[in-house]
């Protein structure tokens, strides 16, 4: 097992492994996405309070979950890179940042488009919204810091430390709706007792959440593969890779 992981950690192994994994992940992601969209937009009944505007939940909540999940992955991979100097962990960490930023952005924008008809305002300085905005800025900070340092090993280390400091924001976002009783509604799914959402609405939400997880796996592998190729552009395996590619074409 350890040996297997070690082999996977080597650059050419990871490259070919991710390349072979991508079509399967994409197929599974598309199936889940279509099922979730059909369930959420067509099958699920109209909400008795919010009408059909609530259907934004099927992208808003999975995006918000992913923005938190990806931050934790980014910070954890960053720590692994800091402590054990594993190049692949550094690459996974920094490749996660733009995807996490995209999900934080989507959580804010879809939330805004839901807030306008329901609350009457595009934006309020509510605790949940403000802490999510801070999360977006943390992502952008990590990306900017990484880009500003020429040596990519040093850049990874600096970005990982910033990501680690920002972890303090994660529980704040999660508990914000309980600590500060402002406009954003409380959790409907992750309550410890039974979730306060009907099963015909819950199933599509979970399908979408799963589809978004797979999407992240695809997007992070695509970015990691690319970053790996940039860092190892002068290696023997990269040269071999392009030679084989040319042969395959002719």
């Amino acid at each position: 097992m350890i040996r297997y992981l070690h082999q996977l950690g080597s650059a050419p192994r990871f490259y070919s492994f991710s390349t072979s994994l991508l079509p399967w992940l994409s197929a599974a992601c598309i199936v889940l996405l279509l099922a979730g969209l059909y369930g959420g937009l067509v099958m699920a009944p109209t909400d008795y309070q919010q009408g059909d505007s609530y259907r934004i939940i099927y992208i808003h909540v999975p995006s918000a979950w992913m923005s938190l999940f990806i931050y934790m992955v980014m910070a954890a991979a960053g720590v692994v890179g800091l402590v054990w100097h594993i190049k692949l962990a550094e690459i996974i960490s920094i490749s996660s940042a733009p995807i996490g930023a995209a999900f934080a952005f989507l959580a804010l924008v879809t939330g805004s488009l839901w807030g306008k008809p329901m609350w009457g305002a595009w934006w309020v300085w509510d605790a949940r919204l403000t802490s999510e905005l801070l999360l977006l800025f943390l992502y952008l900070g990590v990306i900017a810091l990484y880009g500003a340092i020429e040596d990519k090993r040093n850049a990874s280390r600096a970005a990982a430390i910033l990501a680690l400091v920002g972890v303090v924001n994660i529980p704040i976002i999660h508990y914000s709706v309980e600590w500060w009783n402002t406009l954003h509604q409380g959790p409907t799914v992750t309550k410890f007792d039974a979730p306060s959402i009907h099963v015909s609405m819950l199933v599509p939400l979970l399908l979408m959440a799963l589809a978004f997880k797979l999407y992240y796996a695809i997007a992070v592998l695509l970015r990691a593969r690319c970053e790996l190729l940039v860092r190892e552009r002068n290696s023997a395996w990269a040269a071999e890779l392009v030679t084989e590619r040319v042969k395959g074409k002719s």
């Binding site: 009408g51 995209a102 879809t110 690319c226 190729l229 890779l241 392009v242």
Partner: protein, 56 residues
């Protein structure tokens, strides 16, 4: 439910479809951009390899 009712979204069509549209665009960009960069990087390496072979 008819098709026009589906697109009408109970009067919230603008909010619902804008949210879904923006999500689609952002998610697609995050797939297409790395794919394009990957392609460019492979070509860059291929050029270097060819150059080195010629100089041998």
């Amino acid at each position: 439910m008819t098709l026009s009712e589906f697109f009408h979204m109970g009067g919230y069509a603008f909010y619902v479809w804008t949210a879904y549209g923006i999500t689609l665009v952002v998610l697609l960009i995050n797939i297409l951009l790395p794919m394009q960069q990957h392609h460019k990087q492979l070509n860059r390496i291929a050029r270097r390899v060819r150059r080195q072979r010629r100089n041998l």
